[in-house]
């Protein structure tokens, strides 16, 4: 038990030493000559992508605005041409429509036999 505790304590000290030596074992590397040019390429690529998205969003918003204005205009024109909108319900309009139809169109069709001509 005591040995195990001492072993763990020794390991703890050895681990601290190992981690401290890790910093010396991996010194700060010198950046390559391409570091800055590549970085600016990446920055420009991301800026281009975000510009495309901004333009797309702006176009979509403009199109949606134009469409809603057109719809509003169309509603206004139909209202001014057709007078006021009907006040009846849909069922009432259907009932009126049925009543005004001529009844003969609902008569059953009479099928007359056609005889072969015998000369």
């Amino acid at each position: 038990m005591m040995d195990n505790q001492r072993y763990l304590q020794e390991s703890d000290e050895a681990l601290s030493a190992l981690l401290a030596s890790y910093r010396d074992a991996s010194p700060d590397p010198e950046p390559s000559v391409n570091f800055m040019p590549q970085l600016w390429q990446k920055i420009e690529a991301r800026e281009r992508t975000s510009r495309v998205f901004t333009r797309l969003t702006r176009n979509l918003v403009t199109a949606a605005l134009a469409l809603s204005m057109l719809l509003a205009l169309a509603v206004e024109i139909s209202r001014s041409r057709g007078g006021s909108l009907p006040s009846e319900t849909y069922v009432e309009v259907l009932a009126d429509d049925n009543a005004s139809q001529d009844l003969y169109s609902f008569e059953p069709v009479r099928v007359m036999p056609v005889y072969d001509r015998q000369d």
């Binding site: 390991s11 601290s16 981690l19 890790y22 910093r23 010396d24 074992a25 590397p29 800055m36 991301r46």
Partner: protein, 194 residues
């Protein structure tokens, strides 16, 4: 601070030359930190560029000089964390694609590489990398910033926006996990040496 805050303000206002100066002042230090955080020298520049890219697009949110460095460290630890997470996912996917025989060949090749490598520095790096692999990416980054980079709890508190006590608990737990793995590996080495 390695640069004057006026230079950062100029960079924030869109002065490319000022931004270049800021990057030049900090890049070596940041690349070193990233190297120790991720343990893959071949990807250090990529992650470093990601850090400065994020810095460029978030400079307009910077309000005062004293938060600049903790903020840059925050960007660095976030980029390192993202990299480690992606790397682990890629590794898992790759390992699940390999057959058992391929796995054995991969292990043998890795062992051979270690045998060939006789420099003490590389051995230390590999040992620490494998030990830090025993904890989560978040704990790995936190532990490296504290134990290897030597940041104080106060500085870490500024980076993580977390209270010192909460950090102490997290650090203690992460260190205990690493210590357990380290003690086990020492025991194994001692047994093999006997």
């Amino acid at each position: 601070m390695l640069v004057d805050f006026k230079l950062i303000e100029r960079a924030r206002d869109g002065d490319a030359a000022a931004f270049n100066q800021v990057v030049s002042a900090y890049r070596k230090r940041i690349l070193g930190t990233i190297g120790r955080l991720i343990g893959h020298p071949e990807d250090v520049e990529d992650v470093g560029q990601e850090v400065f890219l994020r810095l460029y697009f978030s400079l307009d949110q910077l309000r005062s000089a004293e938060v600049f460095e903790p903020w840059l460290y925050r960007l660095t630890s976030n980029a390192a964390y993202d990299y480690l997470r992606k790397k682990r996912r890629r590794m898992e996917a790759r390992m699940s694609d390999l057959s058992e025989q391929q796995m054995m060949i991969a292990d043998a090749m890795a062992g051979e590489k270690v045998d060939r490598d006789d420099t003490a520095r590389k051995r230390i790096r590999e040992e620490v990398d494998s030990l830090l692999g025993a904890v989560s990416e978040e704990d790995r980054v936190l532990l490296t910033l504290k134990e290897v980079e030597g940041l104080s709890l106060k500085e870490l508190g500024k980076i993580y926006h977390v209270k010192e006590n909460a950090l102490k608990v997290r650090l203690f737990r992460a260190r205990q996990r690493v210590l357990k793995a380290f003690a086990a590996s020492r025991k194994r080495t001692a047994e093999v040496g006997r």
